[in-house]
Symmetry: C2
Subunit: 351 residues, 2 copies
Amino acid sequence: MDLDLASDSAELTASLVDTESVSGTEAALAAAIERALRGLPHLSVHRDGNALVARTTRGRPERVILAGHIDTVPVAGNLPSRREDGMLYGCGTCDMKSGVAVALRLAARLTAPRPDVTYVFYDCEEVEAERNGLLRLSRNSPELLRGDLAVLMEPTGGVIEGGCQGTMRAEVTVHGKRAHSARSWMGQNAIHGAGEILDLLRRYQPREPVVDGLTYHEGLNAVGISGGVAGNVIPDECVVQVNYRFAPDRSEAEAAAHVREVFAGYQVTITDSAPGARPGLDHPAAAALLAAVPGAPRAKFGWTDVARFSLLGMPALNYGPGDPMLAHSPDEHVPVAQIAEIEATLQTWLG
Amino acid sequence: MDLDLASDSAELTASLVDTESVSGTEAALAAAIERALRGLPHLSVHRDGNALVARTTRGRPERVILAGHIDTVPVAGNLPSRREDGMLYGCGTCDMKSGVAVALRLAARLTAPRPDVTYVFYDCEEVEAERNGLLRLSRNSPELLRGDLAVLMEPTGGVIEGGCQGTMRAEVTVHGKRAHSARSWMGQNAIHGAGEILDLLRRYQPREPVVDGLTYHEGLNAVGISGGVAGNVIPDECVVQVNYRFAPDRSEAEAAAHVREVFAGYQVTITDSAPGARPGLDHPAAAALLAAVPGAPRAKFGWTDVARFSLLGMPALNYGPGDPMLAHSPDEHVPVAQIAEIEATLQTWLG
């Protein structure tokens, strides 16, 4: 399969969508993207597994990164793509092959952009963090990811969504004493004890802090609970799995301290976490883009890979075609006109 | 293996224990018991699968049933049996081959007992109710189980434990609305909702009613809880499994109504239940036994097969050697002297 970067952005999106690339099986799509990029003499191209980095090297004082993942969640009977009433339907149309199509089109057409541009196409975003292609690139070749501002083309409905909230999972464990349930007063019921954990969660008042002008909205929630030994046993352990989504004015260490404070007196085990990213909209490099995009920017609540750019020391924002609420749904689709609009806005900004 | 019913009660217990009979594998032990019983001309013997019923038929005005199960929980490195410091250790010593040994000894020696006696040895008590040999007998040959009083020789430490409490399990389900945990306010957390269920359980005041002179002690407890979809999803369902242990002054229907009342407003599904049994110590047939056994009778909290005799219309009590708290433990053991004491008490009562 060869990609035609001269075809319009919706047709190119359809070509990308119809080349299946569920996480872990991106090789064919990565090869097609590599062939297309290597045909562009103004770009220097680097491949790392199924990830590609293509860079202009005109010595501009400023460098912008456009990034997108090329993998999708499992196909759900929604391939091949189809076009209907101005929409393109299919697995990955929204999350996020329309964004990848826009970046590829710009890579082909912007032979001499105003800032230097680095295009990043990577694998395994939809699976566990350790397999993430952007993480791998940031470890293997951090110099290729340096820049002044990163734009992650995840679906935002064509609005700028600044930064992202961090996420942390922890297990809060309640201990009790096992006994036969016919003599329950001989034991101490750990599931009943977990009632206090749930009371704490129900009473919890999440913060809604303003960070760099955007209002975030935190949340602390049980996402799992388990306990029980057998139908005739008073259980001696109950584990509540909680998920804390924290605004980017808090570090991971501060978030962990907060979780431990909320559940003081209980055994708390942090099982995984990822930092947030400040929106960075006050950065000079962002100003021209903010001016070009219609609509007020808003905070990004969900965690995205902008946090990885943030860890590399540069501001990052989310901006791409498609409704983020449709991501991962079998009914996934994207408005054709929105793909073209975003391409035009970015071309004006970078051109 | 041949059983020597003339050997003393501890030696006979050891022979029974050393013939492994984990639930479902009782055939060899049942065959040995059958051979021993068929050698006794004063008994009429009936076999049903791995259960045996042996009856004196002297036309006495009163008939007493002595019953015990011959299966054990899985062996836990505690075979063969061993004797140490006046104790007999091993799988089934306490629950309940020492009781079975006493019944077999009495079956051999009481050639002309005061009341007629029915000895019942049955299989599969330690597994799901549908496989229980006493249940099967009560369906296939209820006439063989008729009597005025049943003594179930489960371990009671040599004290009479009257009747038993009923047990009922129910699932209480809380519904919510699924959402991404980064936007938790879009959903309704079913695990948080289960906090109210746990509050109800923590506030619950169990009854301690006096029934036929014995004080029971109820309990309503969570024995399981589960909920959660994924680490980034607000869960839309949480299920609390509760176990209600109810005194024998309540029927199963009354117990179910009580559970539904406690959790009014929630989806309640009764998943299984078994009725209790009134102690029946006021029955004339019990009076002489009560007089013969040292120590005050007490209520039985755990469910036992006395409830099956109760359903057949006769009072039933628990009386046997061994500490019931040791049942099912790898360290299971029984005091040798207690086996002999109980045999002597029953022989005096029935002889």
